[in-house]
Symmetry: C2
Subunit: 425 residues, 2 copies
């Protein structure tokens, strides 16, 4: 069949949503073009381990081309999406224009600073591999500088880290860095004691992981405290400057490392679509996940606002994105096979398979159906689930090896500072 | 014993020389300060594998602190050396001044452009982890751009790579990239055929690996040709511009990737010492490896010009640096123990244990004593030696796993582009 006779499905984004769509969509009269800004699919749930020197970058990322190399019907393009014209059914990339029959929007989200974009330079977020590598270098470098600093107040600043936001990412980062300082780095310095590092987790609401039942979120706070993290709930940030966080109380915390884990909004592309969005920039989709007025366009994952059973929106987690991707793939497959129209499409239903968050070595919380776990059992469940879902056999093995090594040897393999400011001549 | 009573040994550089010195020097009346610009010891013989996406950065690097964590007598400082005052016995770092009783200069070498520093921006060398990661991203990105390019001459440029210099690094890089294009990437693109990529290795002398016997260097050239590398010997470069190499013949080769593997000179610090240097900036040391006029200062590894048995200088390879380090450590240990003076020091003798270079999968050359190997036996010998010398158990295991996987699956694990130019807003 000539290429021009094939239906063209364009998928934007190769995260959990876009990739799952490609894996579940396959039709003899269709070809797929998958566009991503990077060349890799990122296993985002483990990104915090790259930031905290537990894993190397290639262990949580897989080349998109390699994942789809046995799919001649899928073309992968590494390109930047600059806009869409939904009326003309066109997508604009930096070097070309794609025309589509169906479009799947799966670009995910980005860090949101709640109207304070100027905080970004002082408090990076954690969304991409580059973010993670920058954070790793910044934290390790702060300890190196503390070792060579002579002024005690400078040393204290260098050994203080503030994490803003007590959701899963903030909790994971705080736990991982507390462990790094108190176990791995402890023996390695001669002039400073990394065990004295202060890790401060700031959360505006009265509890960390506030979407969990109260007993689990209290357990998480206790497990964090046991690792030495200073958990400060009901605390709001007023301003962030270089090496400085100002709280609403007026208190100022000096810290060489400030990380932002407080907010996520949808990809900025949604603002250019001319459709209705919520405050976080997500597209208010129809029950079948299509964009209102455009049955040939689907928005899935963190780009879509989908009401769940209890009226609350479906959460921005990878299982939700994957379920939405399968739903959209099923609909398009069926319409290409039968020629049926959008009228007969089934609505999307989210199946909540539970939620878990890890805090550190043998420390986690999990909530699956009516069961609540914390501590070691939750941590083992977390380990198992993340290993099963890690894409690629090689990565599974490498990650398992790294974890076993870190667990038993109290060492971390990926403590490498790259991209240090250039040497003086 | 009070710290001030201890003899202070300052070691500059944590490469093979500096690290081996610390491992072999230990005296109850001495303390050691080891200074390096980075936080890691780099296993440089495998750096080309990071550049060609075979290994990840943490697999060829180990935190210096972690290697020496059981040595309370060694303080590790991550700092830039800005100069030395040999008369006052002081070393200047960016944030402090160190006074020493003995000084070991082991800063290694850097890429030399033979009086054309302006070529550096167009043709990077391969000396550091950052170099390797930049080269990896640049090459992978060129293939990605070729896939989205529409102009055939642009595609040809994007799929051409020129490597200047047919020494071990140039040969390894050429072989590794030829294999990457012809096997790993081959199945993954839809619009271009990576098997058509041109890899051109340029060498000014009449043969590659010219320090080897003629039959071995001819074998290396044949093995390269079999991998599809265009080997051009007796070819000199006249100029390098952006995406363009001009040869002395006037021929111009357009290439998106140009790598420089042609020259190495000693660390620029040697120029500030006020002692006699050779053309490559190496210190002309005494037979005991001390710097003339300064028996308390040793220069080892790529910073030192040491005449070998046949009058040729000892080569700039890691076994030589390690042997020099042990020699200096033995001398200082003995003098601290006995109070003996420099007059009784033994001269350094280099023990050449052979040389080998790898070209690709099952392709290598080796010259050990009177034995010459090439092909699979040489490759297996190379594999064994490099695994044995890879510092750290974890890295050995991870690298073995990666190699086995790449060998049998024809895939590469580390094909991740980081530090791509930022997304458009």
């Amino acid at each position: 069949m000539a290429e021009s006779k094939l239906s063209h499905i364009v998928v934007l984004g190769a995260g959990f949503g876009g990739l799952t769509f490609c894996e579940h969509f396959r039709h003899p009269s269709a070809r797929v073009t998958l566009v991503d800004r990077t060349n890799h699919h990122l296993f985002q749930p483990l990104l915090y381990q790259v930031a905290s020197a537990g894993l190397s970058a290639p262990e949580v990322a897989q080349p998109i081309r390699s994942i789809l190399s046995d799919r001649p019907d899928v073309t992968v393009l590494m390109a930047q999406v600059t806009g869409c014209d939904l009326a003309k059914r066109q997508v604009f990339l930096d070097h070309e224009i794609l025309s589509y029959d169906y479009l799947v929007l799966a670009l995910g989200g980005c860090t949101s600073y709640f109207g304070h974009p100027e905080w970004k330079q002082f408090a990076p977020g954690l969304k991409t591999l580059d973010d993670a590598l920058r954070i790793r270098s910044r934290v390790l470098l702060a300890f190196e500088r503390a070792e060579t600093a002579s002024d005690p107040s400078e040393q204290e600043k260098l050994m203080t880290m503030v994490i803003v936001g007590g959701g899963p990412t903030g909790v994971e980062l705080a736990g991982a860095f507390a462990e790094l300082a108190r176990t791995v780095l402890k023996r390695d310095f001669r002039r400073i004691d990394p065990g004295r590092a202060r890790i401060i987790l700031i959360e505006a609401s009265p509890s960390v992981l506030s979407y969990l039942p109260a007993d689990l979120s209290q357990s998480a706070a206790r497990q964090l405290a046991r690792l030495g993290v200073h958990v400060r709930t009901s605390t709001r940030v007023k301003a962030i400057r270089e090496n400085e966080v100002e709280l609403e109380s007026g208190e100022i915390i000096r810290a060489a490392t400030i990380l932002w884990a407080a907010g996520v909004s949808a990809s900025p592309l949604t603002a250019k679509l001319g459709v209705e969005l919520d405050r976080a920039g997500r597209v208010k989709v129809n029950p079948d996940l299509s964009v209102p007025g455009h049955p040939e366009v689907f928005a899935i994952g963190d780009m879509a606002l989908v009401p769940g059973k209890d009226g609350q929106p479906v959460p921005g987690v990878s299982p939700a994105a994957m379920q939405m991707a399968k739903h959209a793939a099923r609909i398009i497959n069926k319409e290409l096979a039968s020629g049926a129209g959008p009228a007969s499409r089934p609505p999307f239903h989210y199946w909540d398979r539970g939620t878990m968050a890890t805090i550190g070595r043998s420390a986690a919380v999990a909530w699956i159906g009516k069961l609540k776990f914390s501590g070691l059992p939750a941590w083992l469940a977390w380990l198992l689930v993340h290993l099963i879902f890690l894409i690629g056999f090689r990565n599974k093995l490498a990650v398992l090896l790294q974890w076993a090594y870190s667990y038993f040897a109290y060492k971390r393999g990926a403590r490498i500072i790259t991209s240090v400011p250039q040497a003086r001549p």
